[in-house]
């Protein structure tokens, strides 16, 4: 096995650092910790990590700023930790380049799953992307522009396909309303979330077994959507 993957945790709460150091260490990660933003940035520059876990409420500079400054020179996946009541901070962090978020308090399984998704995406961005994505009975071929459900082809409109393709290419990650709208519709529609909602409803009708309780096209309230491949 190669060298252990390096995770940098930036959080000002000693108990969280202690818990993550123990749990992630046990999972064979190399963990370094910082309790201030500047310290975290310095650590990230000295020993480039494979994943950064970043708390948004830091004592010196805001987590949002850490996020933006990291993105100036690094594509390392960033997982943001935030309190429940700060929806807008979460969205702001995602729009500034964070890859995903977790709401405190969180279960460790959830955290490990997010780390896995983040690592997979950063590995993919270095190698040619797979064009075939599978989720339960769904098979999405990004190159051939076809979608099959249980083997049968599902007919999608051009916009529906663009939307599904963007979500599926980022499987497992949360995508904000803004980012989906600007990728799928382009800038002019970027504030018309209702477009997105209507198209998501159509996609669910065509792809989900029970559109009212979706398994793959999940809503992240107040933030955006997430395409789940393993559920």
């Amino acid at each position: 096995m190669s060298a252990p993957l390096h995770i940098l945790v930036i959080d000002d709460e000693p108990q969280i650092l202690r818990a993550l150091r123990t749990i992630l260490g046990e999972k064979k990660f190399r963990v370094s910790t910082a309790s201030r933003g500047e310290e975290g940035l310095a650590l990230a520059a000295a020993q480039p990590p494979d994943v950064v876990i970043l708390d948004l409420g830091l004592p010196d500079i805001s987590g949002l700023e850490v996020c933006a400054r990291l993105r100036e020179w690094s594509q390392v996946p960033i997982l943001v930790l935030s309190a429940r009541e700060n929806e807008t901070d979460k969205v702001a962090a995602l729009d500034r380049g964070a890859d995903d978020y977790l709401t405190k308090p969180f279960g460790i399984e959830e955290l490990l799953a997010r780390i896995r998704v983040a690592l997979r995406h950063s590995a993919q961005s270095q190698s040619p992307k797979s064009t075939l994505i599978t989720a339960g009975p769904l098979q999405i071929d990004l190159a051939a522009h076809t979608v099959r459900r249980g083997g049968a082809e599902v007919r999608l409109t051009a916009t529906e396909f663009r939307l599904l393709a963007y979500l599926a290419a980022n499987a497992g990650r949360v995508l904000t309303h803004q980012s989906i709208l600007s990728h799928v519709w382009g800038a002019p529609q970027a504030d018309q979330v209702e477009y997105l909602r209507v198209y998501m409803r159509q996609l669910r009708k065509k792809l989900e077994e029970d559109p009212g309780q979706p398994n793959y096209l999940l809503t992240e309230p107040g933030v955006g959507y997430r395409f789940m491949t393993d559920s």
Binding site: E85, P105, R155, T159, E194, Q213, P221, G222
Partner: protein, 490 residues
């Protein structure tokens, strides 16, 4: 106005009037000169004198006296048509006549003047009475200032009246001017009266009246009005201070209730967690795998419960502080219901949840996260109180043009009538706390959220259970309903 007769410009007119009636009297007496002797004529001449004094005041009476004296002498004392007097008797009559006439004028004139003064004072009293009854109804500083300015402007016939209010909190003074349309007069005010009370300087009243200076009576009125206004202003500010202190007291009482409820609610899960964790850590007992799993599951459940409790407290404090500002977007209600259903799947294992939220309802302008919470709380509430195996029904329909009606109905026991109106109160529990866990905050949070969206929420017993219903307006001011993209197949 009666008081106007007293003012000087009309004095010559009144003198002419008294001369006029003297002339009329002379003409009438001249016709009867053969039948009347001098004393009778003298007595009759008192008539115009008294009348002049009564109608037009002392000076008019004196003018009438002089005119009557001359006319009497000229026309009725021999030799006629001359002011000469031959007989001592006639001279005496004339002198006595003049003296008595002036005396009568004085008496009648004074009576008239004092009557006018009494009427003026009565008028003043009426105006003051009207002012104080009107002031008694007012609680707002601006309203008091506006009333006083308007009354003063009418009563004094002023060009403009301005009331400037000072207070510790608003630094530039607040001014109210009457009449409204008058822009700030460029000249300095003709009178300025401070609004003083025993404790405070509350501002001042400024009066502009170019036409004529204020008379003593008018000045008195101005001062009385001003002191009435000062009293009313002070009363209003004391009353506001009292209201504020009552609000503080009430919020203090709530905080105490909150603390006692919260410390109990926080300690219970903490106690279970501590018991479970310390049991697991003790080296003396060798726990069976199933027992370990049971203890750990308990810890996890209690942690989830604690987290929900803290979340509820935060929400409640935001609602209380008026800091709950929905981040509205056009949403599909069916999408919103999904989240809570997915999250509550495990808790709802023993119930059937039926969802009847058509996905072709109009888009609704709400905050997704907050509405998610409303559904979570309402469904959790039903899960807690409805018996296992029963059905919980979540439904929504459009009622009227601009309203969506959403209902969560369960087959739980009916809620006694006396509790129905209170179940949205904070910390209110219909059933004893030991039967059901919870914070007593869930439904009051729902109420806060629904009302922040301009909706209404209520509870009612139904033939087969219990229902919580709320409405959501479909209109969003300044945001026309979105034009949806056409649903075309490729």
């Amino acid at each position: 106005m009666r008081a106007a007769w007293l003012t000087s410009p009309q004095r010559p007119v009144r003198w002419l009037l008294s001369l006029g009636i003297c002339a009329a009297m002379t003409a009438a007496l001249a016709l009867l000169r053969q039948q009347l002797n001098a004393p009778t004529v003298a007595v009759l001449y008192f008539l115009p004198v008294a009348l002049s004094a009564a109608l037009w005041g002392l000076s008019a009476g004196v003018v009438a006296s002089a005119a009557a004296f001359l006319a009497f002498n000229f026309f009725f004392i021999t030799p006629y048509y001359s002011l000469l007097v031959h007989q001592l008797q006639d001279l005496l009559t004339l002198i006595v006549f003049l003296g008595v006439a002036i005396f009568v004028s004085q008496i009648v004139g004074r009576a008239r003047a004092s009557q006018a003064a009494a009427e003026a004072r009565e008028q003043e009293a009426v105006q003051l009475y009207e002012l104080s009854t009107a002031l008694a109804r007012l609680r707002q500083r601006e309203a008091i200032a506006a009333l006083v300015a308007a009354r003063l402007q009418t009563v004094l016939g002023a060009d403009a009246v301005e009331v400037g209010l000072r207070s510790e909190t608003d630094n530039p003074e607040q001014t109210v001017r009457r009449p409204d349309e008058a822009s700030a007069p460029v000249t300095p005010p003709h009178w300025v009266v401070p609004l003083l009370t025993a404790r405070n300087d509350l501002g001042e009243v400024r009066v502009w009246r170019l036409r004529q200076p204020l008379e003593a009576g008018e000045q008195r009125l101005l001062y009385t009005f001003t002191s009435q206004a000062a009293l009313a202003l002070e009363h209003a500010s004391l009353e506001q201070a009292e209201v504020r202190s009552k609000v503080l007291e009430e919020s203090d009482r709530l905080k105490t209730a909150l603390l006692s409820s919260v410390s109990h609610e926080l300690r219970t899960p903490l106690a279970s967690i501590q018991a479970a964790v310390s049991s697991l850590r003790t080296g003396t007992v060798d726990w069976a795998a199933s027992a370990r799993a049971e203890l750990l599951a308990m810890v996890e459940e209690e942690v989830v419960h604690l987290n929900r409790l803290v979340g509820n407290l935060l929400d409640m404090s935001r609602i209380e502080a008026g800091a709950l500002r929905p981040q509205r977007q056009w949403n599909i209600l069916a999408d919103i219901v999904q989240g809570p259903l997915t999250r509550l799947r495990r808790a709802a294992e023993n119930h059937h949840i039926v969802v009847a939220v058509p996905d072709d309802l109009p888009l609704v302008p709400v905050d997704h996260v907050l509405l998610d919470q409303v559904f979570t709380n309402l469904i959790s509430n039903s899960l807690k109180y409805a018996p296992a195996g029963s059905t919980i029904r979540v439904s929504a329909e459009q009622t009227g043009d601009q309203t969506l009606r959403v209902q969560v109905r369960n087959q739980g026991p009916p809620v006694p009538l006396e509790h129905l109106g209170h179940i949205f109160d904070k910390f209110y529990r219909v059933w004893a706390a030991d039967r059901v866990t919870g914070t007593g905050l869930g439904l009051s949070i729902c109420k806060g959220i629904v009302e922040a969206h301009g909706g209404r929420i209520w509870a009612e017993n139904q033939p087969d259970g219990f229902a919580l219903t709320f409405t959501l307006p479909l209109a969003w001011e300044g945001h026309p309903p979105p034009q949806l993209p056409p649903e075309a197949e490729a």
